[in-house]
Amino acid sequence: MKILLGKVLINYPYFAAVILFAIGSATVLTRSNLFKKLIGINIMESAIFLMFIAAGSRRDGVVPILHMDDSLRPYINPLPSALMLTGIVVSVSVTAFALALIVRLYRFYGTTDAKRMSDIRNGVAKE
């Protein structure tokens, strides 16, 4: 157990990523407000980004931009950063689209709460 925890401590960014992921998905799944769901999605995705970047990082590394003079220290792995640039764009797109959907839902239901919406819908169905 101690060894396990020691290893977890060494891998603290991954651990933080896992916790953030858990909080994010909990927000998505348990909060009924649509904004909260959206924020949860964003937290979750940034947790994954964190994991990726941590995977490419190294303690003695430097910024992966070529410096003619500073070639003694190693560069960090540039690939995860490149991937996560794409990832950020993706999460921006999803957020924008989800916001648009929220606006449209609000226009109809007058609320941004999923539970209220289904209540209203069932009420409408009963009438």
Partner: protein, 100 residues
């Protein structure tokens, strides 16, 4: 009763997942070490060959816009898709009789 059962089920599931995740995290290659498995021929080429290959000193840009330009093409397409989706969602989507 059903509520407690459900709670217990969720709790057990969460504990199991948590333990699994903990073990996985502990098992991953140590963070920040230079022995990481990601430092292989792939990143080697990106770090040492970027300038020669692409003429770009910023390796991230070299990867984004040259080595993996295909991904970036789809990245811009994601944005494009999102814009079109937003427009189709908000413009003229109301039907008559909608209430506010």
């Amino acid at each position: 009763m059903g509520k407690y059962l459900r709670l217990a089920f969720i709790l057990i599931l969460a504990l199991l997942t948590g333990y699994g995740v903990l073990v996985t995290v502990a098992e991953l290659p140590p963070y920040g070490a230079d022995t990481n498995l990601t430092y292989n021929q792939v990143s080697e080429r990106y770090i040492n060959g970027a300038l020669e290959d692409t003429g770009v000193p910023n390796m991230v840009t070299a990867i984004v816009l040259d080595y993996r330009a295909y991904d970036t093409m789809f990245e811009t397409i994601v944005l494009f898709t999102a814009v079109i989706a937003v427009l189709i969602t908000l413009k003229g989507a109301q039907e008559e009789g909608d209430r506010k």
